[in-house]
């Protein structure tokens, strides 16, 4: 037991004990240097200084703001604005340069790709997918199948004005509803669908009159989709001999698209995105690899 007038000394080490004993184990009193204690006090003083200078204590609504008025939110906003400011140099160059020039200049291409990737994720990915591979009814931008054209200028036009968006400059080109509007009979639709399917490398319907289908195609479809079925981009008529079909490459899907077609809509981005972003997106989409 501790008795300050009768200090106990550990025999082995020759060091005083603190008088603390736990089940026969005694604690040696090797005193800590005082500077260590003082550094602890300095930390306390430092903490008090910190409370005064910086935001620290939570209050019921809000917090103590500190006399320096430091705010991480303000810092973040400033950093964000500084980022925009730093980017503006490149953004201005992007606006001034032609799409071909952007693609040929290493630094502009790098900027446009990064900027385009961010804008794509924010604006385009919900329909075209994060990897730009699209979904049924939403075109795949990675492949080389383009309905309205895959050159830099044509991609930019599609982004600016959209497809069937209502914008004056938008691409408009509707597939007629041959079934719904009773332009062709059910049997005729089956015949022309089988003809197209056969040309696209699919199995036609068994026992169908393909010759009749061919005639029907020439009379009703070839004007837009071409005699060779390769489509005409100016009117947005897709190739029918491509590996990639927007609404599915099966006989049933082809039949459905003739009978009661879907005509997808893409919004116009002219008013929503600034010119530098639209140009960046154009270059980014073009550089997926399918660009022409």
């Amino acid at each position: 037991m501790a008795d300050i007038h009768n200090k106990e000394v550990d025999k082995l080490s020759g060091v005083e004990t603190t008088g603390h004993e736990w089940d026969g184990l005694k604690e040696l009193n090797n005193p800590l240097p005082k500077w260590w204690l003082y550094s602890f006090y300095i930390c306390i003083v430092w903490a008090i200084g910190y409370w005064v200078l910086y935001p620290s204590w939570p209050m019921i609504s809000g917090y103590t703001s500190g006399v320096l008025g430091n705010s991480q939110r303000a810092d973040a906003i400033a950093a964000y604005e500084a980022g925009i400011e730093a980017r503006s140099e490149f953004a201005d160059k992007i606006v001034a340069a032609s799409l071909e020039e952007i693609k040929a200049d290493q630094s502009l291409l790098e900027f446009a790709s990064a900027n385009g990737a961010a804008a794509f994720g924010d604006n385009c990915a919900p329909c075209h997918g994060t990897g730009a591979t699209g979904f049924e009814g939403y075109p795949n931008l990675q492949d080389d199948t383009w309905i309205w054209g895959g050159s830099l200028d044509k991609i930019q036009t599609s982004i600016l004005y959209g497809i069937r968006s209502g914008h004056d400059e938008a691409h408009v080109g509707d597939m007629p509803a041959f079934g719904r509007d009773e332009l062709l009979s059910r049997e005729e639709i089956d015949q022309v669908a089988s003809f197209v399917a056969q040309k696209a490398g699919l199995e036609p319907k068994e026992g169908i009159d393909l010759a009749a289908g061919e005639t029907l195609y020439a009379d009703n479809c070839a004007a837009c989709h071409g005699d060779d079925l390769k489509g005409i981009q100016d009117v947005g008529a897709p190739s029918l001999v491509s590996a990639n079909y927007l609404y599915g490459k099966t006989l049933d899907a082809i039949t459905a698209q003739i009978r009661n077609p879907r005509n997808g809509v893409m919004p116009a981005w002219e008013a929503r995105l600034d010119p530098a972003t639209i140009k960046s997106l154009t270059v980014y989409v073009h550089s997926f690899g399918g660009g022409q």
Binding site: I4, T18, A104, G129, Q142, N244, G289
Partner: protein, 484 residues
């Protein structure tokens, strides 16, 4: 149980915390003092003057031999130039440093602590200044007890001024390793240097002044982990600064011991003069045996040898010796020491192996690099003609200080496979040529398309190979071509 409440810290705080005992190390001279001076000049000479050594690397690279260019993301050491991704060289150096510390310890104890540690070297320098200004041990003790007179104030002011100057120079030398030294010296002198330089000089001035001027042995005893590790690594065969109690005990003044001898009783060689204790920079009495506080600087050996010579006894009462030898002497056997022991051999061998690996890595270091990241989404794209395309983000590094053209070839694809690089028009024989600027990296998008009609496996291993169009240096990396 519960007895601690009786001796609460509030009652007797002096029991729980103690003031550091001020140590007044006395000057000494001898072999170890000379070795320490030599090492002090050598190590501080390197530290203070190395940044001023120039090394020509051509017009586009810094001309400073040793430079850590944080802004440019490069580290230079004479002919070596390291990029951030090659920081493993530093890992190798640290491994060698740790093993060297172990080897030193296995050979002769705390060689690092006693002779080479910056804390020891700068403390030694500060003690020298203190001694020159305020006098040796006895004068300094007296000066501390003196009332504040003009003379005392002058001495103290001079000492602290010199200390701060040394500390300031130490901080100043530090920042020179991170910037072109002559330019920065000029900027510092004309107050045009960047703020960060002044901040770092301030930090190192403060730490040097505090650690070498005031903390001194407290750092070694209470803050440094190495004494604890060293104690666990040492053994009875390692040389340590040792008091030969077999020869020294029983200690006593010359007179006492002569009287003992006259009576035919055993008398030791230690004359109990306390010189060993008085010269000790950490305030240790070496005669208490090997202890954590002892940094093994060898100054007590010098002090003791000087006394032994004066009293006409053989030197070496304190000296580098092993625990084993003391026991052997007590038993009347010859002392032995062998530097070739399993642990020294193993440490040396591992140092040699790591050193050889580093040297090999350095000599075969490539001056170009390629890293390839396959597109994750989509993994592949099927084209209208049935061919399959894969996209890759490829980063090329050019570590030379001139523009280089790299010819890209993707091996492992069937003939007539197409390799395109977005934004790069130059192609020779189907292989794109990618220019990469001097001392920089460039990321490009590479598109690989299978030939028409080729049936690709779900996964084809491919090798991306770049070849310097002039120097022929080849670098490769592996990846895969994916197909449905």
């Amino acid at each position: 149980m519960g007895s601690q409440t009786e001796a609460g810290s509030g009652e007797h705080p002096e029991e729980w915390f103690q003031s550091a005992k001020k140590i007044y190390p006395m000057a000494t001279h001898g072999l170890f003092r000379r070795i320490k001076w030599g090492l002090l000049f050598f190590t501080l000479g390197i530290y203070y003057f190395l940044p001023f050594i120039r090394y020509d690397r051509g017009p586009d690279a810094p001309g400073q031999a040793v430079l850590v260019d944080l802004e440019g993301r490069r580290a230079y050491f004479f002919f070596i130039e390291i990029w951030p991704q090659e920081v493993y060289y530093l890992t190798g150096l640290l491994i060698i440093a740790a093993l060297a510390l172990f080897l030193m310890n296995a050979i002769a104890g705390r060689l690092w602590c006693g002779y080479l540690c910056p804390q020891t070297v700068w403390t030694d320098l500060y003690l020298w200044v203190e001694r020159k200004v305020e006098g040796d041990r006895r004068e300094r003790i007296a000066l501390d007890k003196q009332p504040w007179t003009a003379g005392k104030v002058a001495k103290r002011a001079t000492k602290h001024f010199l200390w701060i100057m040394i500390a300031w120079w130490t901080g100043g030398a530090w920042v020179l390793y991170f910037n072109d030294a002559p330019t920065l010296v000029y900027q510092l002198a004309t107050f045009q240097a960047p703020m960060i330089a002044y901040i770092w000089i301030g930090i190192l001035t403060a730490t040097t002044y505090l650690l070498a001027g005031f903390m001194r042995e407290q750092l070694c005893i209470y803050m440094c982990p190495w004494p604890r590790i060293q104690a666990a690594l040492t053994d009875e065969k390692a040389l340590n600064v040792t008091y030969r109690w077999d020869r020294g005990e029983p200690r006593g003044s010359l007179k006492q011991n002569k009287a003992l001898e006259a009576k035919g009783m055993p008398a030791g060689d230690c004359v109990d003069c306390y010189q060993c204790f008085q010269v000790c920079p950490t305030g240790v009495d070496i005669r208490n045996g090997l202890q954590l506080d002892c940094i093994q600087c060898g100054l007590c050996i010098d002090a003791c040898d000087n006394i032994m010579t004066k009293v006409g006894k053989p030197t070496g009462l304190i000296g580098y010796d092993t625990d084993e030898n003391i026991q052997r002497r007590v038993e009347g056997k010859e002392p032995i020491y062998s530097i070739v022991r399993p642990r020294t051999v193993i440490y040396a061998a591992v140092i040699a192996i790591v050193g050889a690996i580093m040297l090999y890595a350095l000599l075969t270091r490539s001056f170009a690099n390629i890293s390839v990241v396959h597109d994750r989404n989509p993994i592949f794209v099927t084209q209208s003609d049935g061919t399959v395309r894969n996209g890759y983000a490829v980063r090329l590094s050019n570590k030379r200080h001139h523009l280089r053209n790299f010819i890209l070839h993707v091996e492992g694809m069937p003939p007539n496979a197409k390799v395109e690089v977005v934004g790069v028009e130059m192609v020779i024989a189907g292989r794109p040529i990618i220019p990469v600027g001097p001392d920089t990296t460039r990321e490009v998008r590479v598109l690989v398309t299978s030939p028409v009609g080729a049936k690709m496996d779900p996964s084809t291993p491919v090798i991306f190979r770049i070849t310097d169009s002039v120097m022929g240096e080849v670098v490769t990396t592996k990846d895969f071509f994916k197909a449905p």
